[in-house]
Symmetry: C2
Subunit: 196 residues, 2 copies
């Protein structure tokens, strides 16, 4: 692993856990195993490093959503349920990249808002589109109601995921996964065809 890759990997974890202000260049250097000034051979300053990390994370998040939806299953309900569980599980397990994404989408560092929100908004859109396709399939196969549009359903799905993400700080992995089951039941009742 080259130094630059190590810098990226270390930064992701530290930023995700300690936030932007809470992560010093010294701590990053420590984790990488080099001295602080050596970082500046790779990045002009802390902001440039953070922006580079963010770009990587944004792409990774969309890819994560894509993979989580790539489930072999007999019906759309199972696909959505498995994706939902994977999502929550990785969040609750404190997966650094997902935590990073959630944290800085909500609270971008002061001064970097304009540089970040554009790409964040784009990736939100992409992730939601991937889900919309699955939802639309479910509507075609008569598993999901057509009284609601696919976009609304996809939005709700992500709201629930993010709401559960918020809980990971004060609740344990088991508790969050248990809450996720409750939430899923309400969600599925909300979108399924009533006759079922």
């Amino acid at each position: 692993m080259h130094t630059k890759e190590k810098i990226l990997a270390s930064s992701i974890e530290l930023f995700a856990v300690n936030g932007y202000a809470g992560t010093s260049m010294a701590k990053i250097a420590d984790k990488v195993g080099i001295k602080k000034p050596s970082l500046y051979a790779h990045y002009k300053n802390k902001e440039a490093l953070f922006i580079d990390v963010t770009k990587k994370m944004v792409d990774e998040y969309v890819e994560f959503v894509r993979k989580s939806l790539d489930v072999q299953a007999l019906n759309i309900k199972t696909v959505l349920y498995e994706s939902f569980k994977t999502h929550v599980h990785d969040l609750a397990r404190n997966d650094a990249s997902i935590q990073f994404y959630n944290r800085f989408m909500q609270y971008p560092p002061k001064g970097l808002e304009s540089e970040l929100t554009a790409s964040m908004e784009q990736s939100e859109e992409k992730a939601r589109m991937l889900l919309e396709i699955v939802v639309a399939k479910g509507q075609t196969s008569k598993e999901i109601t057509t009284e609601l549009n696919a976009k609304s359903i996809a939005r709700t799905y992500f709201c629930l995921i993010e709401g559960l993400a918020n809980e990971t700080t004060i609740y344990t992995l088991e508790e969050v996964e248990h809450h996720a089951e409750s939430v899923w039941n309400v969600f599925w009742r909300g979108i399924r065809i009533n006759l079922e």
Copy 2:
């Protein structure tokens, strides 16, 4: 308004917007209209000030939820809908106290976690209980399904609120309120009695 009240009011806004590390004692003093050392006549240090603010915010949040549910309406659906809208509206309007609550429940300052999560967890519980009572009424009056328990429904409600809260950074007030409508529709379909 006495100095101490001014300190509290100023701190809430600054912490909510700029976070703990991002809010210096100097900035708080500036906003209050005094000099930095004068703050130390009222609080031993920054942590003590923050903890005092948090205590106030935790109580205020429960009170906010209580009030939002105190709606004169013919049916439970309307009560829940109005409460939901009030909640989202105040979030999207960047109401400092709700933002403060959401921010630091999810990302407590390093070193203060143990001191905060206990009271946070308690207030979460209280707020959810208030909602559970309303949901239970809806179940009795046969508006809400009894296939789901009131706790699950209340949890889902707050997940949706928090999920929508996350959006306030990158979307405008109008967009968030529009999303809230979509989300509400899925939620209501999920908890209503099917025959309706």
